[in-house]
């Protein structure tokens, strides 16, 4: 047995420090293309993490998460298109609120079902949103979508005003907002509320007996999850300056975060983030050198389910454990 030596306190800041330095320097080193790929990754990391709140922590598989993502994206796009002088942060906040509002509206219905019925009901609701978006042409411009809306500058009156159109400027905005979202979600899992979520997943009866109102708690979880998905959608809208039903409400938009959560490692907080990263890299390689993106995704899903059920994070932990064991046995 080797006694564990407590490392000095400053070392705790080494890794986050390096991470922050990489994040800050990233766009300067890698240029526009990779900066935009990173923004795409970050958007989907937050989107997948918001789904993860339901899947990993509350045990509910949503097949219609595009409803909240798309709701947020359209709210931001329409607000910027129709309200003159709309600020940047109000626009993003509108997106989050729209996601939350959609979640709040459907939660009484979702509260009544669990398991596969829940998955199918969310699938139907997501599909309904897709159809409605195409149908309500006068507001949403149908399949052509809402595009070319003004992207407001980031401005603190009298102090500074920065255009958000250049990729690098937008990068910093996006990672700050998405980073805050991830931190908030992480923080949430560490609070008593996070424990209640896990309780609902593992033993809802017990949570009920403890005196918590399960439907109300679930409703709150949906709303929070919808809010973060809405923020992700909102940043997506600003990033692309174009929101279309096929882009944000399509059934694949609901499936993508599920794949990310599962590939990254279900049941962990880091899973969806790792999954988003991994799938972004695979998409990049697949579209660059082949036309077989769909096949790669299919094979990846089958392999992960059959052989690496704990996903990427699980694999990482396993490797770490193996290495650690080797060291201690030496």
């Amino acid at each position: 047995m080797i006694a564990r030596i407590t490392p000095p306190a400053w070392t705790r800041w080494v890794l986050p420090g390096i991470a922050a330095a990489i994040l800050l320097g990233y766009p300067l080193v890698f240029g526009t293309v990779y900066t935009n790929i990173f923004i795409h990754f970050a958007i989907f990391a937050v989107f997948a993490a918001s789904l993860n709140m339901l899947v990993s922590y509350t045990g509910l598989l949503s097949f219609g998460h595009a409803l909240f993502f798309g709701g947020g994206a359209y709210a931001t796009a329409l607000a910027l298109e129709n309200i003159p002088g709309m600020g940047l942060f109000p626009a993003i906040f509108t997106g989050g609120l729209a996601g939350a509002a959609f979640a709040l509206i459907v939660s009484p219905l979702l509260n009544r079902v669990r398991d596969t019925a829940f998955a199918l009901l969310t699938l139907a609701l997501g599909q309904l949103a897709y159809m409605a978006c195409i149908k309500l042409r006068d507001i949403t411009h149908g399949e052509d979508g809402v595009g070319g809306f003004p992207i407001p500058d980031l401005s603190i009156p009298g102090v500074v005003s920065v255009s958000m159109v250049p990729a690098q400027n937008f990068y910093y905005l996006a990672i700050v907002i998405l980073g805050i979202c991830l931190l908030l979600m992480w923080f949430l899992t560490k609070t008593p509320f996070g424990s209640i979520m896990i309780g609902i997943r593992d033993n809802p009866q017990r949570v009920d007996f403890l005196g918590f109102n399960i439907p109300l708690t679930k409703c709150l979880i949906f709303t929070l999850s919808g809010f973060f998905a809405g923020i992700a959608g909102s940043v997506y809208a600003l990033f692309n300056n174009l929101v279309t039903p096929d882009g944000v409400f399509h059934i694949m938009t609901s499936f993508t975060p599920i794949m990310m959560v599962y590939v990254g490692g279900i049941g962990t907080f880091a899973g969806p983030i790792a999954g988003s990263g991994l799938m972004t890299i695979i998409e990049e390689i697949a579209t660059r050198y082949t036309t077989q993106l769909v096949l790669f995704n299919g094979i990846l899903l089958v392999l992960v389910v059959m052989f690496f059920r704990t996903g990427f994070v699980g694999l990482y932990l396993l490797l770490k454990q193996k290495l650690f064991e080797k060291e201690s046995s030496r």
């Binding site: 935009n36 042409r137 149908g142 052509d144 070319g148 692309n240 096929d246």
Partner: protein, 461 residues
């Protein structure tokens, strides 16, 4: 019985008279006032062309970014136009390339997979522009993805040939940008041409059945508007919009039969268009169907001679069984000869002749490179200068790039499928097992020129 004969008589007189009115001038004659024209004599020997094995040139090249859907269920789009771009590139490369910036350069084609999604289209376009440094962009199916590409094209100042998206809004004052040029007929052109054509026909009762989304409604609205203009006595007896990817057309057919129209108008694309005609015919609905995209030889052959008779096609490129120009005749024959040697997936009937959208995009791609040749440089600003107000005698018809809104204007063509056509000369297009277009009717440009969007009128003096 007499009634039936009278109808035939009408039709024959009509076809003859319309043909007499519209038949083009001398075949292959030079167009007065054209800045440049396609020269069929310059076309290379294409016997070594193979779309499965396109020879990318080495060294300093002109880079064309080919943006299409290449993965997923709609990957057929990316496949369909690959022989188009590689054909033109191969031809020009064999001629030794194009003189730009004092150097003969050959054409290299770089693929970008849009996945049919604007976000992916944007990302791929960005990659092609920044990493591959493409000089030109080529695309794409779906107005929303075309919009995403056009935005990036403007950002990085790369000329973008949009020869596949037809939404009017794409080139209006809000979405217009200087780097995007559209050579496909837009919603208005299409429906002006069809409406004008119908003004010369005796039928007065029309039914509309389109897809229930922006495109379907835009097409139907334009059709109603211009039919009313060209043929005020015409009447829309039923108007329906079905959901995308509809499975069962029968309820609509019953409704249409009850309305008893003379013509059924649809703008459906695949698979809806295929299913529409198949199910209509199987239910005994034998109306003439005016359409745009039901041109797949496989579908037509499956519906058969009786089923395809009376179909009315409208396009900016149409050969019928007798190609309209010498250049078209040469391209048709040459392509068809080569097609016989191609391997899967390009061995299917879809590629048998470069007609309709295939012919149009070939022609547009030649136009793009003709402009580059005349510009003599890859400087986007100079390319724009040459292309604006350019008058090009294309493989079929004369095409003018309007400077104000970068929308190409030209004659349109309408053809009615009457009976299976013949192979008039070796390699000539014919329709085996279905009714093909025998006589192509030209709708002169002045009847199908869309108005310039308000805000763009005084963009150029």
């Amino acid at each position: 019985m007499i009634f039936k004969h009278r109808k035939v008589l009408y039709r024959v007189t009509f076809v003859l008279s319309v043909a007499a009115v519209f038949m083009l001038g001398p075949l292959g004659g030079t167009a007065p006032g054209a800045d440049s024209s396609f020269d069929p004599a310059a076309m290379s020997d294409m016997s070594d062309f193979d779309p499965n094995n396109f020879q990318q040139p080495e060294g300093d090249t002109i880079k064309l970014g080919y943006l299409q859907i290449m993965s997923g269920a709609a990957a057929g789009n990316g496949e369909l136009f690959w022989p188009v771009v590689t054909w033109v590139a191969h031809d020009i490369n064999k001629r030794g390339g194009i003189m730009v910036d004092g150097k003969k350069k050959k054409i290299e084609i770089l693929k970008g997979d849009t996945q049919g999604k604007p976000a992916a289209a944007r990302k791929e376009t960005e990659r092609l522009c920044l990493e591959e440094n493409v000089d030109l962009l080529w695309g794409t199916s779906g107005s929303h993805t075309a919009k995403a590409i056009a935005d990036v094209a403007e950002e990085y100042k790369v000329p973008f040939l949009n020869c596949l998206s037809l939404s009017d809004e794409l080139m209006n004052e809000k979405n217009f940008n200087r780097y995007t040029f559209r050579t496909l007929s837009n919603t208005t052109q299409w429906n002006m041409a069809l409406s004008y054509y119908f003004s010369k026909r005796p039928e007065t009762k029309f039914s509309i059945l389109c897809q229930d989304y922006m495109y379907g409604h835009a097409m139907a609205d334009a059709f109603k508007k211009y039919l009313n203009k060209y043929k005020p006595e015409a009447e829309i007896v039923s108007e329906d919009y079905h959901k995308l990817w509809l499975k069962d057309f029968a309820p609509y057919m019953t409704k249409i039969m009850a309305a008893n129209p003379d013509i059924l108008y649809t703008a459906d694309w695949l698979p809806d268009g295929d299913n529409l005609i198949n199910q209509a015919r199987s239910m005994g609905v034998n109306l003439p169907i005016a359409n745009i995209y039901i041109t797949n030889p496989d579908t037509l052959a499956s519906v058969g001679v009786e089923g395809t008779r009376n179909m009315i096609f409208c396009y900016s490129w149409m050969s019928g069984d007798t190609p309209q120009t010498k250049a078209q005749k040469k391209l048709m024959k040459e392509w068809h000869e080569q097609w016989k040697t191609w391997e899967a997936p390009y061995d299917s009937l879809l590629y048998i002749w470069p007609d309709f959208v295939v012919g149009q995009t070939i022609s547009d791609t030649y136009w793009l490179f003709d402009v580059i040749q005349r510009t003599g440089t890859l400087d986007p600003e100079k390319i724009i200068k040459v292309w604006e107000d350019d008058v090009y005698k294309a493989i079929q018809g004369v095409r003018t790039m309007r400077a104000a809104d970068h929308q190409a204007v030209f004659d349109m063509y309408v053809g009615e499928a009457t009976y299976p056509t013949r192979e008039v000369y070796e390699g000539a297009p014919y329709s085996e097992g279905y009714a093909g277009v025998h006589k192509v009717i030209k709708i002169p440009q002045k009847y199908c020129t869309p108005p310039v969007p308000e805000g763009l009128k005084d963009r150029v003096e």
